[in-house]
Symmetry: C2
Subunit: 301 residues, 2 copies
């Protein structure tokens, strides 16, 4: 998850109490009756320094004994949930069933992990990414990404529940009060645009007058990980950082792209954004910090 | 758990398809939002040969990583739930939330553990043992037994929900069709009488004409484990096998008691039961089998 790596790079550069992270929830899923919020957890675990060092998910040093035992009852235990990770899902599910909202539970989980950064789910209401794949019908995101390993030709990406969903408490005010907004190197379709498309979000961003930088998730025209290329192609966009920039048109004023895609800078400029060409591959925490530092500098922070 | 040890001794002596085990559910409890049925699980794990060899609960060789992690969120994680054991509770909770009944879920869990013996919860309706303890108020059973280690003077034992509860599907018909019924060496107040007191159970037993043997859970006037002595004393009963036999009066026709309590045989006879004096301490599977074999013989099975 590029956003998590970027966040890890950003953290040492900022006063954590000044930072709010708004997190996508459209790939939340129910497994074994437990409410799993993969992006919220990755962000929380990352900020807690507890995330797995290599994988883009889960806790460092986790074991999988419960999941193994769940295999006795469920035919489908393809989603990797570690024993200690499960505690988070059990707690979240329990709290939601007791009537607490996802944003409250998220804050509580962050507190229990001693995370000082404010973490907000985009919405307390369910919005779900649904992917139409040629020959496979319409799939939930985790089903598409994890179980089917993103195989098949993407025909459409839909956000079910978007029209009815309100931003979670704190989202709009955090945006309005912000001096700067960073769109990290993530999948625009399933991680960034669901937030941007929520009712009131664009208006709040406009009101803030914040400087906004986006970092392209593509390097050399390809995603570091994940099916973004297939999603861009399948929805009729260019498979390049220009294609991504087009999705952020009118939103970001600075667009950071990798050196390998430096030749696209004039196209970015024509979209009304200032291109910043640098190394965006976050091979190490030091490299992530360097990238984050560059983005902050471009935002005059 | 004396009943589980006894069951392990009984199993090799019978055609498992001929056996039905009716299990107490009044010490069921919700932990972390998960429905835990300690007695059902102990019986299932025992019959599956998967129970912990020494403890009276849990799975053999289980680990406790999830529980440890739950300690981050919950102040109270005193009830030991292993990682593999948790899979059972997660599945049960998920299935109950989907509208399945406890008896259905119990059968499914048994099937998944390849248990051929029929296991029935006493009821699909919630009945809960509540213990009044001097100076501590009224406690849920696990709170009393596990968290407070059964400390304090018992003043009363109540079965909340009993009046409204119906026996689970299959309970009455299994009793009616039975040739013999064994009341294993268990706590009468919290394991046996909750079943017996359910609406229709005594009538079904009478209709069956079954021979009925009870095994005293006391040895030398004391429980092998657990607070039965305190419960007998606190509710005004004799703390002896005679006190237990009095609770089974009009129910059992054979009463098995330990050699160390052999002098009570005349008292048992006066209660209208045939006393059988033998070794009841199940120190090993062989000893459990010997005891079970003796009980079967006394029932002419």
């Amino acid at each position: 998850m590029g956003a998590a790596r970027f966040l890890r790079g950003l953290l040492p550069l900022l006063d954590p109490s000044k930072l709010t992270v708004i997190v996508n929830t459209t790939d939340d899923e129910t497994f074994f009756g437990l409410h799993v919020s993969p992006d919220l957890d990755t962000v929380t675990y990352t900020l807690a320094g507890a995330a797995h060092r290599k994988q883009g998910w889960g806790l460092d040093g986790d074991s999988f004994r419960c999941l193994e035992a769940l295999g006795r009852f469920y035919d489908e235990n393809w989603f990797q949930l570690g024993d200690r990770d499960l505690a988070t899902h059990i707690f979240r599910t329990d709290a939601l069933r007791r009537g607490r909202r996802l944003s409250q539970v998220t804050a509580e989980i962050a507190r229990r992990f001693d995370v000082a950064v404010r973490i907000l789910p985009m919405s307390d209401d369910p919005v779900r990414t649904r992917i139409s794949v040629e020959g496979a019908g319409t799939l939930d995101f985790q089903d598409y990404l994890v179980r089917r390993r993103a195989r098949g030709r993407v025909r459409a990406i839909r956000l079910a529940g978007l029209a009815k969903a309100r931003p979670a408490p704190g989202v709009l005010s955090a945006l309005r009060r912000s001096d700067a907004i960073i769109i990290p190197p993530s999948n625009p379709f399933v991680s960034i645009l669901p937030i941007v498309k929520l009712r009131g979000v664009r208006a709040a961003i406009r009101q803030s007058g914040a400087r906004i930088a986006a970092v392209s998730p593509l390097i050399g025209g390809a995603p570091v990980k994940g099916p973004l290329d297939r999603m861009l192609r399948g929805t009729g966009h260019r498979v390049s950082s220009t294609g991504v920039a087009e999705l952020y048109r009118g939103l970001a004023s600075v667009f950071v792209l990798d050196r390998t895609d430096g030749d696209l800078a004039p196209q970015i400029e024509r979209l009304g954004m200032r291109p910043v060409v640098t190394d965006t591959l976050m091979k190490s925490p030091a490299r992530a910090r360097k990238l984050a530092s560059r983005v902050l500098a471009e935002l005059a922070l």
